[in-house]
């Protein structure tokens, strides 16, 4: 298995690397008892300059399930960044306290600072609106688990494709697979950013930017829904109008394929109605659980533990 030291983007991760993480995650999922002591004596630093529930807890759970320990903080306000310390200094300091770190920061480009200033491995736990590579990896793992493959699938991403930090990471991950057809469904105000589009154009990938899901829903293998945030709209009337057309209810899913799955990175607000939860295609809670296995696999890989 190839080891890596920094995970800040899925752009530079090869398909082989992704697959090796997924197969390790799958082994962990099947026999978690074999991994209980793999990280004994190791410390994971949690540096969360922005609030998080799932990502932070699942990283903590992942390290604890590997027998390691955790330390850190969960808001920029309680750390010395509130006193004006740079990320570079925070990382250099934490290098003496921990063996591996996960950082969530609202600033974009943090990965380059980590590469320059950290001697211990660092993982992004979400970087501004730029990237959320571990979320994308657990999404891909969930898809792979459901279909046994990712090649050839028809996948739609719906909602806020502009500010959603997972979107670029997931798109670059999907771009490593063959013959994936992508539908990007959003209001025109929330389409993918130009640099993301530019990069997608450089991949051998078919993608269509549309604003309505009804024409394609019946062909889809995967629908990935993200939250549209009220704050993104200067005009609240626009928001109210759009909200209803980007809402998934059992009726929306009347004629989907038998193997269809519905994903969401959570937290969900009202873009998926609660009645959908009991349908067999609703995989978002399983998706969240998969995050622990994928993060365990990543921690092992970055620490160089076989």
């Amino acid at each position: 298995m190839k080891f890596t030291k920094f995970i800040f983007s899925t752009l530079n991760l090869s398909r082989e690397y992704l697959e090796s993480i997924f197969s390790l995650a799958s082994k962990i999922e099947q026999n978690p008892e074999n991994y209980l002591n793999k990280c004994n004596g190791k410390i994971l630093a949690i540096l969360f300059f922005e609030p998080s529930t799932r990502t932070m807890l699942s990283f903590e759970s992942a390290m604890l399930r590997l027998g390691g320990s955790i330390l850190g903080f969960a808001s920029g306000k309680t750390s010395s960044s509130a006193k004006g310390e740079t990320i570079a200094d925070t990382l250099r300091m934490i290098n003496g306290y921990a063996d591996i770190a996960v950082i969530r920061h609202y600033l974009e480009g943090v990965g380059e600072i980590a590469k320059k200033y950290s001697s211990i491995p660092v993982i992004s736990g979400g970087t501004g609106t730029q990237a959320h590579p571990t979320q994308a990896m657990l999404d891909l793992y969930t898809i792979k688990k459901a279909f046994g493959k990712i090649d050839g699938l028809k996948i739609a991403l719906m909602g806020d494709l502009k500010y959603g930090r997972t979107i670029p990471s997931l798109l670059y991950g999907l771009a490593k697979y063959d013959d994936v057809t992508l539908y990007l469904i959003s209001p025109k105000e929330l389409k993918i950013r130009s640099h993301v589009r530019q990069r997608l154009n450089g991949f051998n990938l078919k993608f269509y930017e549309i604003d309505d899901i009804s024409q394609i829903i019946d062909e889809l293998d995967v629908l990935y829904v993200t939250r549209i945030q009220k704050e993104r709209f200067p005009d609240q009337l626009d928001y109210e109008r759009l909200k209803s057309s980007y809402k998934i209810s059992p009726e929306t899913l009347n004629n989907v394929k038998d193997s269809f799955i519905l994903l969401h990175p959570l937290p969900r607000v009202d873009e998926i109605t609660p009645e959908v939860d009991s349908l067999p295609c609703a995989k978002y809670f399983e998706q969240a659980k998969n995050g622990v296995f994928v993060r365990m696999a990543l921690i092992l890989n970055l620490l160089g533990v076989e």
Partner: protein, 157 residues
């Protein structure tokens, strides 16, 4: 439109300085701006816009006495006047000729416009861009991935 041919241009020879030749037509004023040449510049400056070159295409020329370009200025010039030729004049002769080429990377001379980019937030890193397209010119921030192009870019040159 009537244009003058280069050979008919009468400009006194300069002893030491820089001649920037084959500037894309109309860009000469921008070139002077990038070089910080304004109405206080103490030496001779000659400027010609839209003259016919030997190849009969239009071009601008700028001749500046007493000026040597810094590498930062050359880098900026290459972005606004790609393929222009910088002639270094010493003792009335062309001592060196440099053809400006758009580089693959642009560092430090331009700022990223994303306020949330680490390069704009007191971190110990300097702006750095990859040139992802030369025509039209599009730069990509190596830190936050955002693109810099069009007016947002030309305003910084």
């Amino acid at each position: 439109m009537e244009t003058v041919e280069e050979k008919k241009l009468i400009v006194t020879k300069i002893k030491e300085g820089t001649v920037i030749d084959r500037i894309p037509p109309g860009k000469a004023l921008k070139v002077l701006h990038v070089l910080g040449i304004n109405d206080n510049y103490p030496y001779t400056v000659a400027l010609a816009m839209r003259v016919k070159s030997k190849k009969m295409q239009l071009k601008d020329i700028v001749k500046i006495k007493g000026k040597m370009l810094t590498s930062e200025e050359s880098q900026k010039l290459s972005l606004i006047a790609p393929n222009a030729v910088v002639n270094i004049i010493n003792d009335y002769k062309v001592e060196k000729k440099i053809v400006l080429e758009i580089p693959e990377q642009v560092s430090e001379i331009i700022k990223c416009l994303n306020p949330n980019c680490v390069t704009n937030n007191r971190e110990p890193v300097f702006p750095s861009f990859s040139v992802i397209s030369k025509e039209p010119l599009i730069l990509q921030c190596k830190y936050c991935d955002r693109l810099l192009e069009g007016q947002n870019l030309s305003e910084q040159l």
